[in-house]
Symmetry: C2
Subunit: 243 residues, 2 copies
């Protein structure tokens, strides 16, 4: 892990860009913590630069409440090398959505499974590197999108102690079956009128998760309309389970 | 409205029992507020004495955060005169539940509609009397069970400015149709494994409500298993909308 930039945001939070091998990432810390801060991994759909304002907003909220926050670029997104198979799967998804056709399990599998396979070891390597830094300690939370990545990561890595998932429809059958192995405390956010999501599939996913404590927060509105108060609820959820 | 008892609870909260005509009720206030406190009506399934520990717990939480809290007995419950029709409807419900039969719309209508018809004017009279007291001001929130009562009250009384409903299955078709008229901010709590509730009907009710801001919080567990943190979320919900 190599830090490439470092700056103080106007609220005093220290933002550092880094590379982990050839994977770009961002770390946000208070820069003045006296005890090691629990780590929240900020999940997203890929494209760090495009997503930056929303990711930084979530991260700053977390750091203000005593956490460290970090994210890395997804495989085949942003400035990372493309994948012909991933591009083909995305093109196929756009085509069936534009035609109003149902999204087949084959497209979902091709879209999500290789991404999860490639991304999980990268996020685990990021956890290794981040926990080795001074000022960052366990436990670790995963927060955000690509719910399939969050589910697989929580199922295979015992350092993940709590997870907040944005409900996503394009969950392969294989990941659905792994959901029962996830037993950590979990909060799922569902946008009730999400144009990209099948509401019933999101409810089925919530039902399938094996967690003994799991909460679903549904709100009116579309994909990007998560109310601001859910950001505060998210931080309180992690504070209950990571501190 | 006539106060019949008055005592200080160990956290300094003032608890006063009252009668409104022949309806018993309880009012909880800080007893030391300098500005009028918004009022939260504590809804329940009937039987103030049996429900007292849970109601008082919710009320104390609200008062600690700057609200006044009050409740009144439901028609035909507790020490109030019985209704032969209500007793018959309850007996019919118990009989079909014991037999594992579906609960008919006829039973739900006989169980809930007369209760709502009788209770709504009583709760409105309670609002009149409570808002006339020194130290209590509008706006008013409704919080709790008999979701049909909360929906009707919110639909007909503009003083109700926010509502928290416990999801209930036995919602008559007529109340379902009124749900679209409810436009105030709303938080619905759903126990995912509620032995008394039909999950899909609760989700349909959430969907039918006409509120432009509405949030659903679902948690694992049965009817009485609402997690403690939902009490804190409830107070924050009312703080956002009643202050």
């Amino acid at each position: 892990m190599r830090f490439t930039t470092e700056r103080r945001l106007d609220d005093g939070i220290l933002e550092r860009e880094f590379t982990l091998g050839d994977i770009p990432g961002i770390l946000w810390t208070s820069g003045s913590a006296s005890t090691p801060a629990p780590l929240i991994l900020i999940g997203h759909q890929g494209g760090l630069q495009t997503m930056y304002p929303r990711l930084a907003g979530r991260a700053r909220h977390s750091v203000a409440e005593g956490f460290a926050a970090a994210t890395i670029e997804l495989p085949w997104s942003g400035d990372r090398p493309r994948s012909a198979d991933a591009d083909q799967a995305r093109a196929d998804l756009r085509r069936v959505l534009a035609a109003g056709e149902p999204v087949s399990e084959d497209i979902i599998d091709r879209l999500v499974l290789p991404l999860v396979e490639a991304a999980v070891p990268e996020w685990q390597a990021a956890i290794d590197a981040l926990l080795a830094l001074p000022g960052i300690g366990g436990p670790v939370g995963y927060s955000g999108g690509v719910s399939s990545l969050g589910i697989r990561l929580a199922a295979v890595d015992p350092r993940i102690s709590a997870a907040l998932l944005f409900a996503g429809s394009y969950v392969p059958r294989a990941i659905f079956e792994e959901a029962g192995q996830v037993t950590i405390p979990l909060l799922m956010l569902l946008q009730w009128d999400d144009e990209n999501n099948d509401r019933q599939m999101a409810l089925d996913l919530y039902d399938a998760l094996g967690c003994t404590e799991k909460t679903l927060h549904a709100n009116l509105g579309g994909h990007t309309g998560v109310p601001a108060f859910e950001g505060e609820d998210a931080v309180r959820f992690f504070a209950r389970h990571l501190r």
